[in-house]
């Protein structure tokens, strides 16, 4: 997807959340194009649920359980697009 479809603020906030949950990577590892599900070993079911909870709290949104899909969690861009649908 085109990252211009989501706001830089959303990307930035998502990276902040991801860095807190998965602190084993340097800050320059994270960008809109960083792949998540299937690409990062630490990005397991527990991490996914933790990140969902943090996103919901920080953006004041509530995801549908159907949003928990490999597509939505494929990369920071796809996750930002999902957040944008609720928050944007």
């Amino acid at each position: 997807m085109n990252t211009a479809q989501t706001s830089p603020q959303i990307i930035s906030k998502l990276i902040h959340i991801l860095m807190a949950v998965i602190p084993s990577y340097e800050s320059d590892f994270w960008s809109a194009d960083t792949e998540l599900f299937g690409a990062i070993a630490e990005f397991d079911s527990m991490a996914i649920v933790t990140i969902i909870g943090e996103i919901e709290e920080q953006f004041d949104i509530v995801f549908d359980d159907d949003d928990i899909s490999a597509e939505n969690f494929a990369s920071i861009s796809s996750l930002a697009k999902l957040v944008f649908e609720y928050y944007g």
Binding site: D44, S45, M46, V49, I52, E57, D60, D65, I68
Partner: protein, 272 residues
Amino acid sequence: MNINAEFIAGKQGALFRLMRTPECVQGHILYLPPLFEQANQTRHMLTRSAINAYQQGFESIIVDHYGTSDSAGQLTEACLSLWQQDVIAQLSEIKTRSKQTTILSVSLSAALLLNNDILALIDGLILVQPEFNGKRFVQQFKRLALAAELDKQLAVEPSLDEEQINIAGYVMGKELLVHLSQQNSQQLTSRKLPCCWLEWQAADSELSTARANQYQAFQNALIANNEDCCYYAVDDVKFWQSTELEIAEQYLADEQQALLALFKRTMGAKTC
């Protein structure tokens, strides 16, 4: 360090208790472990908190809930009411052998165990990022099963029978989740109880709406007309969320400060 690791009688079976007793006990603090995966994610910090309290002159006690960790029984045999009755028994036991201040420390999902009978037995309450929204907690827990289906590493196994559910390896009665989902702070009635609330909040950020609502609901429910709830903003890593083992030093310092301030408010410092 004077530490006792022992099994004590619970309502349905033996409970594992870790008790650190200083030479001069100025008060007691019972730590309620949070539930399910949060228990594993917080254990290292719970231990540090208990050691800090011990070093401040508090007898610090950690008891594993029935069917969890080193306590007897299976999670399938546990229910909310049983866990609450065990907590009441532990607090009553402290009360029968000591007239000193008893403080209850409750973190994350352990807040879902609180009821009025428990609050009636304590002199002070420490809340650490408490989760009072049972519905949300259970929703998040169930999402674990959905997320596990994605990576297939923690496959959702078929339920053992109609009354049980298996989420990411945690097999439990469905009724337990139903009862947890019904918990909220509004069930706690107003009484004067000195307490402190430690909330993770970065120095340059506002509290999220969801967390602000929980704090407000707690204030409305429990401490109406009570000025004794102190709010502490903790600017530190959310160690229970991290995929790495994190030590939250600032939190430990804030918690110690909160404990001592709370103790002074409940009873006043005692000397040996």
